[in-house]
């Protein structure tokens, strides 16, 4: 019996591995989509990053006693994560005006009547930032001067009065910052898992004499139906697992998307998610009167609906469904797969992760049970 099972399993495995559809839909398509996500998010990240603003400070007319201003500007121009300006100290205004005209600086600061003022050529984000800095500096300076004038005894406490310490402490649930970006990749993986539905559909269809000539040939053979299902399903699930693991490895190591500290639970999510996808496809294949093409369309359409509500196309829709219709969120296998991946990324504990895995396993078991019960002695009204 084992030899027979092995023969059926290995031949089925060969069929899957040689199938162009398998490579296109299970490997090439998700890898291309993940790469597309990667480049899209990379350019968005670059756009979001604050660029260092080139400015100039004209020393001409700067009061000698106002060294605090140049010290502040210098400290904000020091190279590092908190660098805000790239500053040129220029002796004459004419040179600064030329630099501004040439577009080499976004604005320059010059003293007039003992006060620093800003000169810009156009409005923009950088110009607003320079203006905000200058306003804040002048306001702080003015407040300090007032305090010193009216309460000179507070001079020693001035630094602590103007320090920007917060009294609340931010405690994160995780070492990782919350982000919706990774959800797109997780939803993509959920889609690959749910595409396992095609494996499940094919396994049962190739056993149904009304849907395929191969199904008829298998049905008239003395091989018991459960053996055929087991061998075919094992092969289908094996290639599905292979595909999901390869896609996870690609996303993790080539695209550098975080799956949390360990990769094994991510594989487990992919494996259990694939099982759910395969079981879903098997369940769709049960109705006797539906044609194979209609069943294929149903698997693809329902998978896309599941993935849409899991956040593949729109960020945050999964959280919206979870708030407004939590039951729908819990019976959507794609949403559970996404949540399981996100739990690995964000939470330091595994409680929520294993809850998702348990729900996925329960769904698989129910769908698999209904399928086996329905097709075990199926004969047809018509072929």
């Amino acid at each position: 019996m084992i030899f027979m099972m092995w023969n059926l399993f290995s031949r089925n495995l060969l069929c899957h591995l040689r199938s162009k559809e398998f490579f296109i839909w299970m490997l090439i398509f998700p890898i291309m989509l993940a790469t597309l996500f990667y480049f899209t998010f990379s350019s968005l990240d670059q756009a979001d990053q604050l660029q260092v603003i080139p400015i100039a400070v004209v020393e001409e007319g700067m009061p000698e006693e106002d060294s605090a201003f140049s010290d502040t500007v210098r400290s904000l121009s020091e190279k590092g994560d908190e660098q805000l300006f790239q500053t040129q100290f220029i002796s004459e205004e004419e040179k600064a005006r030329q630099l501004l005209k040439d577009g080499e600086i976004d604005g320059y600061i010059q003293y007039e009547n003992g006060k620093p003022g800003l000169v810009v050529r156009e409005d923009g984000l950088n110009q607003t930032i320079i203006k905000s800095f200058l306003d804040q500096y002048l306001q702080t300076k003015s407040s300090m001067e007032n305090i010193l004038q009216e309460n000179p005894q507070l001079a020693e406490r001035l630094p602590s009065l103007f320090s920007r310490e917060t009294v609340t402490e931010e405690i994160s649930l995780s070492q990782n910052a919350p982000t919706s970006k990774v959800n797109y990749f997780y939803a993509l993986l959920a889609m690959v898992c749910m595409y396992g539905g095609m494996q499940g559909l094919n396994v049962v269809s190739f056993l149904q004499s009304n849907l395929s000539a191969i199904g008829a040939r298998k049905t008239v053979s003395p091989a018991k139906r459960w053996k055929l299902i087991f061998a075919d399903l094992s092969a289908g699930v094996t290639v599905q697992w292979l595909a999901i693991i390869l896609v996870i490895l690609f996303i993790r190591f080539i695209l550098q998307v975080d799956f949390g500290p360990q990769l094994l639970p991510a594989f487990l999510t992919g494996i259990v998610g694939s099982l759910t996808g395969v079981s879903f496809g098997m369940l769709v294949s049960v109705p006797k009167r539906l044609k194979y093409s209609a069943k294929t369309a149903l698997v693809v359409a329902v998978t896309m609906v599941f993935c849409f509500f899991a956040g593949l196309m729109t960020s945050g829709i999964n959280y919206l469904v979870e708030q407004k219709a939590p039951v729908l969120a819990w019976i959507n296998p794609a949403a559970r797969i996404v949540d399981a991946f996100y739990c690995l990324y964000y939470y330091d504990t595994y409680y929520q992760f294993f809850l998702n895995i348990a729900v996925l396993l329960a769904m698989s078991l129910v769908m698999f049970g209904i399928t086996i019960f329905s097709i075990r002695r199926q004969r047809h009204e018509s072929l």
Binding site: N7, L8, C15, V220, P222, K224, S382, L383
Partner: protein
Amino acid sequence: MIEVKNLVKRYGDLIALDHFNLNVRSGEIFGLLGPNGSGKTTAINCMLSLLKYDKGEIRLFGEPMTPNNYRSKQKIGVVMQNVAVFNELTVYENIDYFCGLYVNDKRKRKELVEEALRFAGLEDFRKFIPKKLSGGLLRRLNIACGIAHKPELIFLDEPTVAVDPQSRNNILEGIKKLNREGATIIYTSHYMEEVEQLCTRIMIMDKGKEIATGTKEELKAMIRTGEKLTVELFDLPEPLLSEIRRVKDVIQASFDGEKLSVNCKTGSHAMISILDLLRQNGMHFGRVYSEPPTLNDVFLEITGKQLRD
């Protein structure tokens, strides 16, 4: 070997099998002949437990045939009308896969697969995938997949549809060889020449019913036509055609503008009388030939329509 009693199969209002009876003996090549839609494939699918039926009894190898009768299934080989092979597997792998549904022993299976390859003339194509095979070779692969495990009873459902003449001859010779090696064969076709050439007994079916059963000689003996006469001529006046119809032993005569066709009774000498009549009336005729009746004539005389209608 096969016993079917009062089988009834309905598709809604349509009766596909109407109290259908069949008895096939061991060692026969039994032909089911009938036009498309006559119920041949439905009968086979019911016998194989692929289809539910409304009434009747089916026994194979003396046992009731059910989906769980694995003992009987072990001895059956099936070649379906539609080619049933995996497009991703090679010729060898396909035969090995389907043989593996019946035979566990790897060494024995290897021998059987090699034998099936030789039988179907596919040795040179063992590493080909089905897409690379011609229509005829694909049909041969379909047959090889169905018979590789050396079944005692083989169902062949129109195995030569869309096959070139060379492959058809190859297939028919192969079927005869399988029969000589001990297999009982159920062969369905709407090609009467094939059935005549191959089958030891034939059942003619129409509208889900048995029309007649017997050897080809027995079937032909059931009808009045014993000889078919054809005379090539350019013109035949209607009065003369009526006179020909009145000649002794003439059953039916017709003229289509080029040929006079006459069906005569068995053992008659109507041909001489008809040719004399044509000569006497100054008719110039070309070739004259006589042939025995075909199964189509049997079908025509019993049902009033052509087999290929």
